[in-house]
């Protein structure tokens, strides 16, 4: 893996395995994955259903324990950290955007955006906050609760929340899965702009070739193994690779 030595990596996994269950019922979700995610890059993880892409993301983000191998975020090896240490690591160094249930219904949009900082007891970077809010076009929505926002607006709030704590890496799990194509495109553009303009590192799991094409690089998983990757993807190259994989 020459790539590991050439660029700075925000997240690195080596020999990552994950097994669910035991004995005959054991499911090998990840069979030994070595991968690095470059700092300041937008990487998409793709693969057919059951390929292990969500599991990989959960293990990388410290949401799930690993069976073997290591995961390093920045200079910290997160495999082997206690639950409390992992929680604090997530709080301070990782941002999340999920497919749904991204926001707390009792909080306003602004409160939702500030939530990770509030939990950590940190002050928001007001310049960054204003810029993110302006960029995402949420200025007139800050006092609204999630139930008063459209799906696209809700996801933009989630993106703003992920950006505001300046995490080392943002993990996005099918962030556009529940959106119509226009809203989806907006959210993806914002994600890409945050990489270009703010130098944010983003790792996104998706099954949509169109969404993957916003990334700088797409890695492909099949049956718990990393099989190939595409750099500077277009929807067509991604689709072609997928079709080849499934063939």
């Amino acid at each position: 893996m020459t790539i590991l030595t050439e660029v700075q990596h925000a997240v690195v996994a080596t020999g990552l395995t994950k097994v669910y269950g035991q004995g005959d019922a054991a499911v090998h979700a990840l069979r030994g994955i070595d991968v690095g995610f470059a700092t300041g890059a937008f990487t998409a993880i793709m693969g057919p259903s059951g390929s292990g892409k969500s599991t990989l993301m959960h293990c990388l983000a410290g949401l799930d324990s690993v069976t073997g191998g290591t995961v390093t975020i920045g200079n910290t090896e997160i495999t082997g950290l206690s639950d409390k240490q992992l929680t604090l690591l997530r709080r301070d160094r990782i941002g999340f955007v999920f497919q749904a249930f991204n926001l707390l219904p009792t909080l306003t949009a602004e409160q939702n955006i500030r939530l990770p900082l509030d939990i950590a007891g940190r002050q928001a970077d007001q310049v960054l906050l204003d810029r993110v809010i302006e960029t995402l076009g949420l200025g007139d929505r800050l006092g609204h609760r999630p139930s008063q926002l459209s799906g696209g607006q809700q996801q933009r709030v989630a993106v703003a929340r992920a950006l505001i704590s300046k995490p080392q890496v943002i993990f996005a799990d099918e962030p556009t899965g529940n959106l119509d194509s226009r809203s989806g495109a907006e959210v993806l553009s914002f994600l890409r702009r945050s990489v270009r303009e703010l130098g944010q590192t983003i790792v996104m799991v998706t099954h949509d070739p169109g969404a993957a094409s916003y990334a700088d690089r797409v890695i492909f998983l099949r049956d718990g193994l990393l099989v190939t990757e595409v750099t500077s993807p277009t929807p067509q190259t991604v689709l072609d690779t997928l079709l080849k994989l499934e063939a």
Partner: protein, 830 residues
């Protein structure tokens, strides 16, 4: 459809268990009450039957007068009578090892029948046969440390000491009076001498063929007497005791019903939440063709299954509770039969199961109806809508009506003439007001949560803020959950307000009644011969003591009815408050009476009433003053000192009030008083502080009993909070996972749920404390006694703190479960 319902129930055993527990506890309490009282009733019946069967015919006076001795001689002469013995009893103070009469009231001396008519159960030794024999009840012998063979001393009515040989011990059985006073048994002749009884309480007759014997005796005694066979007597005694057991049962059942009402709220809430959570499931059922009726039915069936299981379990719990309570009562030596076999009547089974079924299924009907309103299309919606709540106009109108009506009825009760009707009005007003609060409570939840959550929100950062927000999320649910707790807290506050007000008022009254340091009384009360004047004289000689005031009491017929009459005490500080007229006008030939007696008998100043005296025949006395009876210990009428002596001679002092000389320590003064009183066996020395202490203890006991009985309702409401929280936790799985992913630690998540429960508990307590205080005040206002209203701030704060704690406790399990859940699983469940 049935199979779907059952499968759903089995899939959520824990939920089923929590829901059932509320009903199980309520049904258990009701079942236990029946088991307990039924068993006691059976025990009474057995005891009375065993007791009265030894007698063939019993004669008692209808008017509770004593039966003259001549009648016994006549009955003995009736053909067929093989034996007839008179039973008598009266005060016969037993002296303890220190030479003072034992107990607060004199021991009762009774005659012990012999031969076939012997009804007393002599448990060790033998019955009295010689004039110098005596037997003691087991309990008195034990507490006063007398053993068979000891010599015991008993006072005769004139205060003369008589020694007896203790030859046996006996069991007083279910006679509550004897159990209270303690009893000493003699032969019939000795008993008559020792108690100065002029006649008999009862005559027991033995002979063949009780029915014809009864008729023969009845013909002899005439209509003034009740002549019954032994069996009839046993039945009547058992009936009387059953009425008592019936009151006991009613008292307990009230608490059982309160518990069931709370349980109904818990069930209602649980099913409501279940329906809300399964909106998608219901919608899916509707999509694939289930009718509204089927959806309704499925919820009802679920409630029926819960009802049957929990009611049956409740019955088992009830058996255990009943048996446990009997064991405890037996251990405490309560004067009731606790050794009868546990009685489970069919009625108990029917009532328990029926109450459990009706409450559970009834409470589930509204949620079941709500389930039928779920549109099939809800199955297709991706995210469930957050329930919105608006204070509807109808709700506000109903709440307003209930609250107005409640306030009006209560106001009527408070302002009307004091008495039972006033109290009933206050109770009714309280019930209606509570309904109003129940209706309006969802509207109150948000502002109250803001109040109760003010501190947590500021102290606990993000978890605190989220917790308070969550507690305000679903006002209806929060309202039903907290109102369940409110019921218990309201009643506890009410009882504590009533007891503390009573305490304060009685203390003030005691201060007036005993404006001195010590009071020396005759244990035998107004019927006794009183304390000799030598005692007061000796007290006056004592250098440690200051004021010594004698009061004399006697009973006499005033205006035809027996009243307690007192001489006017010499010290003005020991005189009661005059409400009309003046004690200065209490000149020879006049009288003062209590204002309550005067108003009951429509007496006014200037009236002349006849007074039957022992020394001067019947005299007419003029009413010149009314006084407050609450200021004196027991007197209903007061005579001038000289008149009292002229009418009744010098009966001896009923009470001597003594104050320590200024600067003398209380314990030194007390020793001085006791030393002077030592030669007078029936002279009891009490300090004002002791009298207050005894009263305090009695009130504390009342508070504890009510607290214990209301504890069940509180426990059920805590189960309700736990249930609501665990269902909320289940609903908010995704949110919990999200905040965990965003960096909330497990501890913080647990803390968040505990805080939410704390807020709920505090809201319930706040409403309860306000209601309890207001209605405690109203209840005391409606009582026919003057009271100083006091709010027991300490107790109320403790109650609020305990409610908060109860909430936190209820959150323990749900919070653990929420914190333990895997983030990935919770997110994946989307």
């Amino acid at each position: 459809m049935l199979r779907t319902t059952l499968a759903g129930l089995l899939a959520h055993k824990l939920r089923l268990l929590l829901t059932s527990l509320a009903i199980t506890l309520g049904v258990g309490f009701i079942g236990g009450t029946f088991v307990l009282t039924d068993t006691i009733e059976v025990g009474f019946q057995q005891k009375f039957t065993a007791d009265a069967e030894k007698v063939d015919v019993a004669v008692r006076s209808k008017e509770d007068d004593e039966i003259p001795a001549e009648l016994l001689a006549k009955i003995r002469a009736v053909p067929g009578v093989t034996d007839a013995q008179g039973l008598l009893g009266g005060p016969a103070p037993l002296l303890g090892r220190n030479g003072k009469a034992v107990g607060n009231v004199p021991t009762t001396g009774i005659s012990i029948a012999t031969g076939t008519l012997a009804r007393t159960t002599v448990t060790s030794g033998v019955g009295p046969t010689r004039p110098t024999d005596a037997i003691l009840d087991e309990n008195t012998a034990k507490t006063r440390q007398f053993a068979i063979g000891d010599t015991i001393t008993v006072l005769d009515p004139e205060g003369g000491k008589h020694d007896f040989t203790l030859v046996g011990l006996f069991d007083v059985g279910v006679d509550q009076w004897l159990a209270y006073t303690g009893a000493v048994g003699f032969t019939a002749e000795t008993a008559q001498r020792m108690t100065a009884a002029k006649g008999y309480r009862e005559i027991n007759i033995a002979g063949p063929n009780p029915e014809s014997l009864r008729d023969a005796v009845a013909a002899l005694t005439g209509p003034g007497y009740r002549v019954q066979t032994g069996t009839e007597l046993a039945d009547e005694l058992a009936r009387a005791s059953n009425i008592e057991a019936g009151y006991f049962r009613l008292f307990l059942l009230i608490f059982g019903l309160i518990a069931m009402f709370v349980a109904a709220l818990v069930i209602y809430n649980t099913f409501n939440i279940l329906v809300a959570q399964r909106t998608r499931e219901m919608a899916l059922l509707r999509c694939i063709g289930a009718t509204r009726t089927q959806v309704f039915g499925s919820i009802v069936i679920e409630s029926v299954v819960v009802a049957v299981l929990s009611s049956a379990l409740g019955l088992v719990v009830g058996l255990g509770l009943g048996a446990g309570a009997l064991a405890v009562l037996g251990q405490l030596g309560a004067p009731m039969p606790t050794d009868a076999p546990i009685s489970l009547k069919p009625l108990t089974i029917v009532v328990s199961l029926l109450v459990g079924m009706v409450v559970t299924v009834g409470a589930a009907l509204f949620p079941a109806r709500a389930a039928t309103r779920v549109p099939p299309v809800a199955a297709l919606r991706s995210q469930l809508e957050e329930p919105t709540f608006r204070a509807g106009l109808v709700r506000m109108i109903f709440a307003g009506l209930f609250l107005l009506a409640g306030a009006a009825v209560t106001a009527i009760g408070v302002t009307m003439e004091n008495g039972d009707t006033a109290l009933v009005a206050v109770v009714a007003g309280g019930a209606v007001t509570f309904l109003g609060v129940l209706v309006v409570s969802p509207v109150l939840m948000r502002p109250l949560a803001a109040v109760a959550g003010w501190l947590p929100r500021r102290l606990f950062g993000v978890p605190g803020r989220l917790a308070v927000d969550n507690s305000q999320r679903n006002p209806k649910r929060a309202a039903t959950t907290t109102v369940a707790l409110t019921i218990g807290v309201t009643l506890m506050t009410l009882i504590s307000v009533v007891t503390s007000t009573t305490r304060e008022s009685v203390q003030a009254q005691l201060d007036k009644q005993f404006p001195v340091d010590f009071i020396v009384t005759d244990q035998r009360g107004p019927e006794g011969s009183g304390l000799p004047s030598a005692l007061a004289a000796a007290l006056r000689q004592s250098p440690e003591l200051g004021t010594v005031i004698e009061t004399q009491l006697t009973t006499a017929k005033l205006n035809g009815q027996e009243r307690v009459v007192m001489n006017l005490p010499s010290g003005p500080e020991t005189r009661p408050t005059v409400t009309e007229g003046s004690f200065d006008a209490l000149t020879p030939g006049t009288i003062a009476v209590g204002k309550q007696l005067a108003s009951a008998k429509k007496l006014k100043l200037g009236d002349t009433v006849p007074l039957a005296t022992t020394e001067a025949g019947t005299v007419n006395v003029r009413l010149t003053a009314l006084f407050d009876e609450e200021d004196v210990d027991q007197a209903q009428a007061i005579l001038p000192e000289a008149d009292f002596k002229r009418y009744f001679g010098s009966p001896g002092a009923a009470a001597v009030y003594v104050s320590a000389k200024h600067g003398v320590a209380t314990d030194v003064a007390r020793r001085a008083v006791e030393a002077v009183a030592l030669p007078y066996p029936t002279a009891q020395v009490a300090s004002a502080a002791e009298i207050r202490g005894e009263f305090d203890e009695a009130l504390d006991m009342v508070l504890m009993i009510f607290g214990g009985l209301l504890g069940l309702a509180v426990l059920i409401s805590i189960l309700g909070i736990a249930n609501t929280l665990s269902l909320s936790v289940h609903e908010r799985t995704h949110e919990s996972a999200l905040v965990r992913a965003l960096g909330l630690t497990r501890g913080q998540l647990r803390g968040m749920l505990s805080l939410e429960a704390l807020v709920l508990g505090l809201i319930g307590a706040l409403i309860g404390v306000v209601l309890g205080t207001v209605f405690g005040w109203a209840a005391m206002k409606s009582m026919p006694i003057e009271t100083t209203f006091t709010v027991p701030a300490g107790q109320i704060l403790l109650l609020i703190a305990l409610s908060g704690l109860a909430g936190v406790l209820a959150a323990t399990l749900p919070a653990r479960r929420a914190a333990r859940a895997s983030i990935v699983d919770a997110l994946a469940a989307a």
